[in-house]
């Protein structure tokens, strides 16, 4: 077990880490630069570009919108996706095979097409407000991930424990919460994280669905870099990164803890 690692393997692993971490280090580095233009390594250290974010109303507003949309869309997708994944796995034998494929189809449609068609049909066609359309778009965008990830953890779930619970006097609807959900908890957390990140980073769908007064942070960043080249972009990215990590941590803790204290 304690055989020596080949030096080549170590070198390869280090390269992979550099490749993965490099962009993050460069972004974090540039965000701390004291210059008025993006540069790496940073020249002088300063937090002024972080302060600058909060002086710019557009960034503040879009950041709030992004988090609202990502949280709500993820929650909606889970509310639809958990029962869907449950049904697809529980009744796998009875259901036709193409049904589970149906739930991943949105992944196959280019996001930009999804955005454009929602603009045409929902926003312009049905006349829904911008925020609602954005929410629908992102729910559709992240739903396949939720169904896939939760299905994966349900695939190894032994449904006979559900029958065991029922035979012990637990009503079926309650059994779902006391026995099924706690055992796919890790899948739900993974689905939440994946869906949240997908939504908060989305450009292609939001590009069509954002409108007057309402925009998401990635769209605002895009708008900003078209005119300016200052380190505020880097600091916004860093802030977004840390806020996302914070949300993940909160989800992990709360979902984990509520089920553990059951």
């Amino acid at each position: 077990m304690t055989g020596r690692l080949h030096p080549g393997l170590i070198a390869f692993a280090v390269l992979v880490y550099i490749f993965l971490m490099g962009p993050l280090i460069i972004v974090i580095g540039s965000s701390l630069s004291d210059t008025t233009f993006l540069t790496f390594p940073p020249q002088g250290l300063s937090l002024r570009w972080f302060e600058r974010i909060f002086e710019m109303a557009a960034f503040r507003r879009t950041m709030v919108t992004s988090f609202q949309v990502a949280t709500l869309a993820t929650c909606f997708a889970l509310i639809i996706g958990i029962p869907a994944a449950y049904a697809l796995n529980r009744y796998r034998v009875q259901l036709p095979g193409w049904l589970s494929t149906l739930f991943v189809l949105p992944i196959l449609v280019p996001e930009i097409v999804l955005g454009f068609s929602l603009l045409r049909s929902v926003q312009v066609g049905a006349g829904l407000p911008v925020f609602s359309t954005l929410l629908i778009g992102h729910t559709l965008l992240v739903l396949p991930y939720c169904v896939r990830v939760i299905s994966a953890s349900l695939a190894s779930f032994d449904f006979s424990i559900e029958e065991a619970a029922i035979s012990l006097g637990s009503p079926p609807w309650k059994t779902f919460f006391t026995v099924v959900l706690p055992n796919v908890r890790s899948g739900v957390i993974a689905a939440f994280i994946l869906a949240f990140i997908t939504s908060i980073n989305d450009v292609s769908v939001a590009l069509f669905l954002t409108g007057p007064g309402i925009s998401t942070l990635p769209i605002q960043i895009l708008a900003h870099v078209e005119q300016f080249f200052d380190p505020v972009i880097a600091s916004v990215s860093v802030l977004l990164m840390f806020l996302t990590v914070a949300v993940m941590a909160v989800v992990e803790r709360t979902l984990g803890l509520t089920f553990l204290t059951k």
Partner: protein, 356 residues
């Protein structure tokens, strides 16, 4: 606590396939009855109907004074022990056992005490805080048993509970199950495909085939007096010989069959012998006699196998392929002609078999 279970004319379908056909079964209060049969015979369907996971297309299920037929599964008060244990992986052993008590609204202190007591009884008190994943197969099965017993069910049902255990443990566990069931006096239904298991553990056994019960009786009667050809084959009566009674003299019946088969039967030993019937024996109940002129079944011997206490011969006869036994002192060779003589104390009379 013990209540009799009564299944009345149950019929069940999966889609358009009929899986249970007008099945009736009465299990006495405190009795342990096994449903025995090959896979697909309807034994598990019967269990699932009784548990409430399936609905019958016709018929009724009664437990004591309660009509269960339309009662939802979670209100039936039936303890279930599953083949794969079906323990809750996210709960400790203690919480697994206390689960049913919690559903019944029992307070935390009392259910812990009761679950602890039950774990003590199955010898797992030390493991109360473990998760099921940390237990061996036998321990898991004990937890499953404790979980089903602690709710003091009116009926206990086992779905092939021992088939995932190794041979030695299987024998130990079935003794343990029987002892616990006896001590509690809980009416029980045990589903298995293992004949030895069913016979050793049960008060009565229902042998099932194609959605029907072919015979329902004590293991002793089933083993010695099967009432039809299916059950006879199932319990090892390999030789089924169709015969017709020729002459009767007091209790003695001379019976004849195809190709010069001629046997003498005694109704005092075999019970009433009808005019047309099938004589059934195990290999040891059919003796090979080298005397080619004696009464019996003319045969040509085939392969001889050594079984310690006797030789078994594969024999070709006018009644088809039979297996007979011969003494170790006089082995006979392949191709020898011999008579096969039934040992009456090891034979039974079955109704004439319908053409299959």
């Amino acid at each position: 606590m013990a209540a009799p279970l009564s299944l009345e004319h149950l019929t069940a379908h999966y889609g358009t396939t009929k899986v249970l056909d007008d099945l009736s079964l009465d299990v006495g209060a405190g009795e342990l009855v096994s449903l025995l049969g090959a896979s697909g015979c309807g034994k598990t369907t019967t269990l699932r109907l009784t548990a409430g996971f399936l609905a019958p297309t016709a018929g009724a299920i009664r437990l004591g004074d309660t009509d269960l037929t339309r009662l939802p599964a979670h209100r039936r008060n039936i303890g279930l022990v599953f083949q794969n244990y079906a323990l809750f992986p996210h709960l400790s052993v203690l919480d697994n056992v206390a689960f049913g008590l919690k559903q019944r609204g029992m307070g935390s202190a009392e259910r812990t005490r009761k679950a602890d007591d039950m774990l003590q009884r199955v010898g797992l008190a030390d493991l109360a805080e473990r998760l099921p994943g940390e237990l061996s197969g036998g321990q898991r099965q004990r937890v499953a048993l404790a979980r089903a017993l602690v709710i003091e069910p009116q009926l206990l049902m086992f779905d092939e509970p021992l088939s995932n255990l190794d041979a030695k443990l299987r024998v130990d566990m079935r003794v343990e199950i029987r002892q616990l069931q006896r001590a509690n006096g809980t009416t029980s239904v045990f589903v298995t495909h293992d004949q030895e298991e069913a016979f050793s553990i049960s008060d009565r056994v229902a042998i099932m085939d194609a959605g029907r019960i072919r015979q329902f009786d004590t293991p002793e009667v089933l083993y010695q007096r099967p009432s039809n050809a299916f059950v006879a084959r199932f319990v090892g009566f390999e030789n089924l010989i169709p015969l017709t009674s020729a002459t009767r003299q007091g209790s003695i019946v001379h019976a004849k069959g195809d190709g010069g088969i001629s046997v003498v039967l005694d109704q005092e030993q075999l019970g009433a012998v009808p005019d047309r019937f099938t004589l059934a024996t195990r290999p040891d109940g059919l003796r090979v006699s080298p005397d080619a002129d004696a009464e019996g079944i003319p045969s040509t011997l085939g392969l001889r196998t050594y079984l310690g206490r006797a030789y078994h011969y594969q024999a070709e006869t006018p009644a088809g392929h039979l297996v007979a036994a011969g003494p170790l002192s006089r082995p006979l060779d392949i191709g020898a002609t011999a008579r096969l003589v039934p040992e009456l104390e090891q034979c039974c009379i079955l109704p004439a078999e319908e053409a299959p």
